[in-house]
């Protein structure tokens, strides 16, 4: 696991894992073209987790799909997406296909609908491996069993032949993760991977992702609407609204000294269980008066 496999060695070892520059995604509509992502620029370093946060319609998922080359038909992109130093935009789909599921892979929000109900999970995991690495069915199946075991599915040798609906929601997401990681990608994009899950299951999945990332050194782009989740998993945060990047900094900086009023508002909107309890119907966090505190201590320096 520690040895970087040959396929991961990119053309430019010194380059950052993912460099996105001036990315704009445009959709044609009946009322003319609409930019769902406008001039987005960010960098994902090796071994790092970058969180992209935004509410619905912020363009966070479209940014992820653009990186994967999975935008819906009709979408136009401009700018630059460099993966390990190589430009991805404008490359033919057949070339991107060799990267997808292999050097970069993606986990989606709703694991049940993201898995094909007609095939066993073993087949669906194994086909990724066979597609990119070839080898016999039997070997790929063994890989699938291993992968299921690594993501914490009990009894993987037996459950490899089950169908998606026979697993719980959390297990299905574990299966999706196993599928995404089977070729040991350099980049994992997780698009709201815990949003459809119960909160207890969410914490388990977040732990699993953090653990697998620690083992493999995969860089992760974590997309969510939930700032509290970001706080637990990402080193750096990018805040988006209406297709635009509003803030992009270390997680600690964004949480302790948000620059943009929108970020501040988002932070104040998070339902909390750890601050002082307001009596119901009396104080709301959005309307919470600024505390008349002692003079603010050392403001952190401007970056």
């Amino acid at each position: 696991m520690t040895e970087s496999p040959a396929h991961r060695a990119g053309p430019d070892e010194s380059a950052d894992l993912l460099e996105v520059e001036g990315l704009t995604v445009t959709f044609p509509t009946t009322r003319g073209p609409v930019d769902v992502v406008r001039d987005n620029t960010f960098t994902l370093r090796n071994n790092e987790t970058l969180g992209i946060v935004g509410e619905s319609g912020s363009g966070k998922s479209m940014t992820a799909l653009a990186v994967m080359g999975l935008l819906p038909r009709g979408a136009r992109t401009s700018g630059s997406i460099r993966f390990r130093g190589t430009e991805l935009l404008g490359r033919p789909d057949a070339e991107l296909r060799r990267l997808r599921g292999n050097a970069m892979s993606m986990v989606f929000q709703d694991p049940l609908s993201s898995l094909n109900p007609y095939y066993t999970v073993g087949l669906q995991i194994a086909e990724v491996y066979r597609c990119h690495r070839g080898g016999s069915r039997r070997a790929a199946r063994r890989m699938a069993i291993d992968a299921l075991g690594r993501v914490g599915i009990p009894d993987p040798a037996e459950r490899v032949d089950r169908y998606p609906h026979q697993f719980s929601g959390g297990q299905r997401q574990r299966i999706m993760i196993a599928m995404a990681l089977i070729c040991e990608p350099a980049l994992l994009i997780a698009d709201e991977p815990t949003t459809a899950l119960d909160v207890t299951v969410q914490s388990q999945i977040l732990e699993l992702l953090a653990e697998l990332k620690r083992q493999t050194g995969t860089g992760m782009l974590f997309i969510t609407h939930d700032l509290a989740v970001i706080a637990t998993i990402a080193q750096r945060v990018l805040v988006m609204r209406d297709g635009e990047q509003l803030e992009y900094a270390d997680t600690e900086r964004v949480f302790s000294a948000p620059r943009h009023p929108y970020t501040r508002m988002l932070l104040e909107s998070i339902p909390r269980i750890d601050d002082e309890l307001a009596a119901p119907g009396v104080v709301s966090p959005t309307a919470r008066p600024a505390r008349p505190t002692d003079p603010a201590p050392a403001q952190e320096e401007v970056r």
Binding site: R97, R100, D110, S114, N116, P117, C131, Y163
Partner: protein, 331 residues
């Protein structure tokens, strides 16, 4: 699984019994008096009474129904003494028109209807589903638009118009086919095939148009599924994605509809058989209705119901084989 099949079959019996009772009430109790009809023009009250007695029409309704049901299962006797006629099981009575055993009539006609149905089904499945698949995958292209326009037009042409047009073109004008005639397969397979070709085409075109549109809609729905996006995210090639991930989800619902359509046709393709003069169950039904031949109408209705109910069960069992989600709840 066995328990499931047994459960389904037990329902089949219940439904068939209900259909028997229902059709019996409609055709024997609510229609004109059969005895009067059999008696014909030179009729005396005594004669009507005799017929009544021999048919058991003088007995209370429930007993008549019981006789009828017993006749299907175990056979029954009509009349008494020297006039006694034994009708072996499955006894569906005798035609008022020809006096022939209705069961024998059915046995005679059924192969024709089955031949018509099977041939048409092969044609419309091959044609309709293939066109639908291509149109679904190439949604919005000229191929999609033109085939779907044709399909819409094709499904709105009445079969008898189509039949006449085809007969005129193929038989009269271009003379590529002989006029349809009942030729047994054993006598001359080529002539047999030629004689059935037109009925097959006429019957298949309506269904093919319908199936093309259904298949297209299913393919488009399937392509929009989240798991198709997953398949692309895995880096699979377009052919593998279509062949493995799209085909089965898109075609499974077609199986259900096909099962029902095909089962319905086994009970006779009324219009096609009549137009082409094929002596199938459908033609038998239309003749019987025209002449109010109640035992025959009754038999045709029961037969159609039987095929539909059995078709339903077969479809459900097929579905359990095709869709793993159904499989686990069934077993």
């Amino acid at each position: 699984m066995l328990r499931y099949v047994a459960g389904r079959l037990s329902w089949v019996l219940v439904i068939l019994l209900a259909v028997c009772v229902f059709t019996y009430v409609i055709f024997f109790q609510l229609s004109p008096d059969p005895a009067v009809m059999i008696c014909g023009k030179t009729c005396t009250p005594e004669r009507i009474d005799t017929i009544r007695t021999s048919l058991g029409l003088d007995r209370p309704f429930l007993q008549q129904l019981g006789d009828f049901l017993r006749g299907i299962v175990a056979g029954r006797d009509y009349g008494s003494g020297a006039n006694l006629v034994h009708c072996p099981a499955p006894c569906l009575g005798y035609s008022f028109q020809s006096g022939q055993s209705v069961w024998e009539m059915v046995l005679e006609r059924l192969p024709v209807s089955v031949t018509v149905a099977v041939g048409a089904a092969v044609l419309w499945l091959l044609g309709g589903v293939t066109i639908g698949l291509l149109s679904g995958v190439k949604e919005g292209t000229w191929w999609d638009r033109s085939t779907m326009a044709l399909a819409l037009g094709g499904s709105s042409i009445p079969p008898y118009v189509l039949a006449l047009a085809l007969q005129y073109l193929l038989v009269v004008k271009w003379q590529v086919l002989p006029f349809p005639a009942a030729i047994p397969f054993g006598d001359d397979p080529v002539a047999w095939f030629q004689s059935y070709l037109m009925p097959w085409i006429v019957l298949a075109i309506g269904y093919a148009c319908l199936y093309a549109r259904m298949t297209r809609a299913n393919v488009i729905d399937t392509l929009a599924e989240n798991f198709m996006r997953t398949a692309r995210a895995k880096g699979l090639g377009p052919v593998l994605i279509l062949r493995r991930h799209a085909l089965r989800p898109a075609l499974t619902p077609i199986v259900t509809i096909f099962g029902m359509d095909f089962a319905g046709l086994l009970g006779g393709a009324l219009i096609t058989e009549t137009v082409f003069g094929l002596n199938g169950v459908g033609k038998m039904a239309s003749d019987a209705i025209a002449k109010n031949d109640q035992p025959v109408i009754m038999a045709v209705t029961l037969l159609a119901a039987f095929f539909v109910v059995i078709g339903n069960v077969v479809v459900d069992l097929l579905y359990t084989a095709l869709d793993p989600r159904v499989r686990t709840t069934a077993s």
